[in-house]
């Protein structure tokens, strides 16, 4: 299952950090953060609850980059 989310982040390196954090989050198979279009594409593991996983993703991203936002 793949989903796209709108994000807000200020710098390109922070976007890369978000991508790395998202990939590390349990339940996420793969993720791509596109800084230029401010979008995040997340591919989930089979059978996980996307909402719950994204909650954790958001938390992890906030930890590395306080100013970022993921619009769920």
């Amino acid at each position: 299952m793949k989903k796209t989310y709108k994000i807000d982040v200020d710098c390109a390196n922070c976007a890369n950090l978000m991508e790395a954090e998202t990939k590390k989050t349990a339940g996420v198979k793969d993720a791509v953060v596109n800084f230029m279009t401010l979008k995040m594409k997340v591919e989930f593991e089979d059978g996980v609850d996307a909402k719950e996983v994204m909650g954790r993703v958001r938390e992890n991203c906030k930890r590395v980059e306080k100013d970022c936002e993921i619009f769920l």
């Binding site: 710098c11 390109a12 791509v32 596109n34 230029m36 279009t37 306080k66």
Partner: protein, 616 residues
């Protein structure tokens, strides 16, 4: 400028103004420290907060934390020496200027690109009992009749049911010549209706319509990251920790040996300022984004930054013939019947009748050459003989239309034709009446396209006969071609070329029948894809119209983009390393470090924006 940018700009200006004013104030000691603290906090408070946040989460290489250590360190040295606080504040100030500029430039190019791709329709006019109603195009169901006024964008793909007009397709194809449409014509979303009112019956949902598809494709494109982007992301992950560790070593080891610890801590702080990876990281995706956006404006859709990168390395271009170099629609080239005392018009007339029910491309071209085929002649007993042709009874006469074998079978004495093309022989009541020459015309700009790509880099693969292929290749100046290939042969021939080539190999086709080769190629380019979903799916690069010159255009754009990417990588890394070395041996001060961090970033961003200006 958004609210955040405005606020940050104000902070930068206020801090700069205070800093300049403080230059004229004669004050020393603690008072000076507190006075200088004001501009520092105005411009840097958010960085300090972020640094604290990073510290709390054990993020040693957080950019804000590094900036904080560098500036607080510079401040501390200034207090100790009762010296100049300006440097510490300037580092923070310029760091913020850099951040602001980056945010502004990126925002600006986001806006520019979305304006370039201004094909998203905002509404659709649906006819109701109380006149026209504007609705969200998403809510329009298939089969609804929508009305498009002059000056409006066609919101959804469909068929014209009423009205005549000309359409401007420039936003979709880059082709500036308007297209005439009238009742029965298929139209695609994103075109602008220029003069007449059109009533259109929609054939697709909004989300499946051309305009939506293209926008989705272009927006997604920058998510497929190129090797350059991966490289720089990885580099940034290593670069910052390494520089920070060097800074720590620089602060401790020489200080212990020489005892001149002020000097060495100062040099270490320079390292921290240069350790930020932002200049490297921002300019690369920005270049790709701008390159993809600029290309889409010309009707060249590149489906990913990675494909843009591969496209720039293309050395060999393999092309399909039919539909790529030639029109792909067969046309009657000549009718030869004079020597047999048979009227040419009549010959075409009879041939068209015989082909009335056939859907073969040849049949279509015969019917096209004789437009009013459905007249009151009687057409009976139509019989298709596989591999031969078609026989039918027209007004009582038995007419056979087909190839040489068919003529031999019915005993008609057929004649060889001097022209190259598909020869369709006609016999009436067993007697040879003449033949029709059908050929596929070469596209108007095919020759220029071949010349631009360099004929020696081109391979033509086709399923057509040797004679026709040789003629087309000869006319276009192509030296390498393979003819009479079945679809499977095309793949194996392509693989041979792939193995022999030193650079990347692109395949150009029309997306019909050649999907396997398209996907096998390093870069698959589909042309004339307007409205063909299959081609858009299979290819990596989609040319919206069928002008073959767009192939070399696409390659040129990709090369320009990649050369800018390389310039940025070498320039940014080069300047940073240079400043690190000069800083370590004491030849560069804090100002050089600021340039290596902020100046390089601004220059790299400005350079990336150049990708949007397309090469001629």
């Amino acid at each position: 400028m958004n609210a955040k940018q405005k606020k940050n700009l104000a902070r930068i200006l206020i801090a700069a103004a205070i800093l300049i004013a403080l230059n004229f104030v004669e004050i020393h000691g603690v008072g000076k420290f507190f006075l200088y603290l004001i501009p520092y906090l105005v411009v840097g408070y958010d960085i300090l907060l972020k640094a604290f946040h990073g510290l709390k989460n054990f993020r040693a290489f957080d950019e804000s934390l590094l900036m904080t250590i560098a500036t607080v360190g510079a401040f501390a040295l200034a207090i100790y020496e009762d010296g100049d606080y300006t440097e510490a504040i300037a580092v923070m100030l310029f760091y913020q200027i850099g951040e602001w500029f980056q945010s502004y430039a990126v925002g600006k190019s986001r806006k520019n690109i979305s304006e370039l791709m201004d094909i998203r329709p905002d509404y659709a006019n649906v006819e109701t009992d109380d006149g026209l109603e504007q609705v969200d195009p998403d809510e329009v169901e298939i089969g609804t009749v929508i009305v498009v006024q002059p000056g409006e964008k066609i919101p959804i793909d469909g068929v014209v049911v009423e009205g005549n007009s000309t359409l401007n397709t420039v936003a979709l194809t880059g082709e500036s010549l308007p297209r005439e449409v009238s009742s029965g014509a298929e139209v695609i979303s994103g075109c602008i209706n220029l003069n007449g009112v059109l009533k259109i019956r929609t054939t697709k949902e909004f989300g499946e319509s051309t305009a939506s598809k293209i926008l989705e494709l272009v927006e997604d494109a920058s998510s497929r990251k190129s090797k350059s982007e991966d490289f720089i992301a990885k580099f940034a992950r290593i670069y910052t920790p390494v520089v920070v560790i060097c800074a720590a070593a620089l602060a401790i080891i020489p200080s212990i040996i020489s005892g001149a610890w002020e000097t060495w801590i100062y040099r270490a702080l320079i390292f921290l300022v240069i350790s930020c990876p932002c200049a490297l990281v921002i300019s690369i995706p920005l270049s790709f984004f701008a390159g993809i956006g600029g290309a889409s404006r010309e009707g060249i859709l590149i489906k990913g930054s990675n494909f843009l990168e591969t496209l720039s390395k293309v050395k060999t271009v393999v092309m399909d013939k039919t539909g790529t170099l030639t029109q792909g629609s067969f046309e009657v080239d000549a009718v030869h019947s004079k020597n047999l005392n048979f009227d040419a018009e009549k010959l075409l007339h009879l041939a068209a009748h015989v082909e009335r029910y056939s859907t073969h491309p040849i049949a279509n071209s015969l019917r096209k050459a004789h437009p009013n085929e459905r007249d009151d002649c009687t057409v009976e007993d139509v019989e298709e003989i596989s591999g031969r042709g078609i026989r039918a009874k027209i007004n009582g006469q038995v007419v056979c239309v087909g190839n040489e074998k068919f003529m031999d079978e019915v005993g008609a004495a057929w004649k060889e034709c001097y022209k190259v093309g598909t020869i369709i022989h006609v016999a009436v009541d067993g007697k040879y009446a003449g033949h029709v020459v059908i050929s596929d015309a070469i596209k108007p700009h095919a020759k220029e396209a071949v010349a631009e790509l360099g004929a020696e880099n081109i391979f033509m693969l086709t399923g057509d006969t040797e004679k026709i292929s040789a003629k087309v290749a000869g006319e276009l100046g192509i030296k390498n071609y393979r003819s009479e290939l079945l679809p499977a042969d095309k793949v194996s021939e392509f693989e041979k070329i792939l193995a022999a080539s030193s650079g990347s190999v692109a395949f150009v086709g029309d997306g019909i029948n050649d999907a396997p080769v398209l996907s096998r190629a390093d870069v698959g380019i589909a042309m004339g894809a307007l409205g063909s979903d299959a081609a858009i799916e299979a290819a990596d690069v989609v040319l919206m119209d069928d002008d073959p010159r767009k192939i070399s255009r696409a390659i040129k754009i990709s090369r320009k983009c990649l050369s800018i990417v390389k310039q940025n990588i070498f320039f940014a890394i080069g300047v940073k390393f240079l400043c690190l070395i000069l800083g370590a041996i004491g030849l560069a001060n804090m100002w050089a470090a600021i340039f290596a961090d902020v100046g390089v970033m601004i220059l790299a961003v400005l350079n990336s924006i150049r990708t949007m200006i397309l090469p001629k």
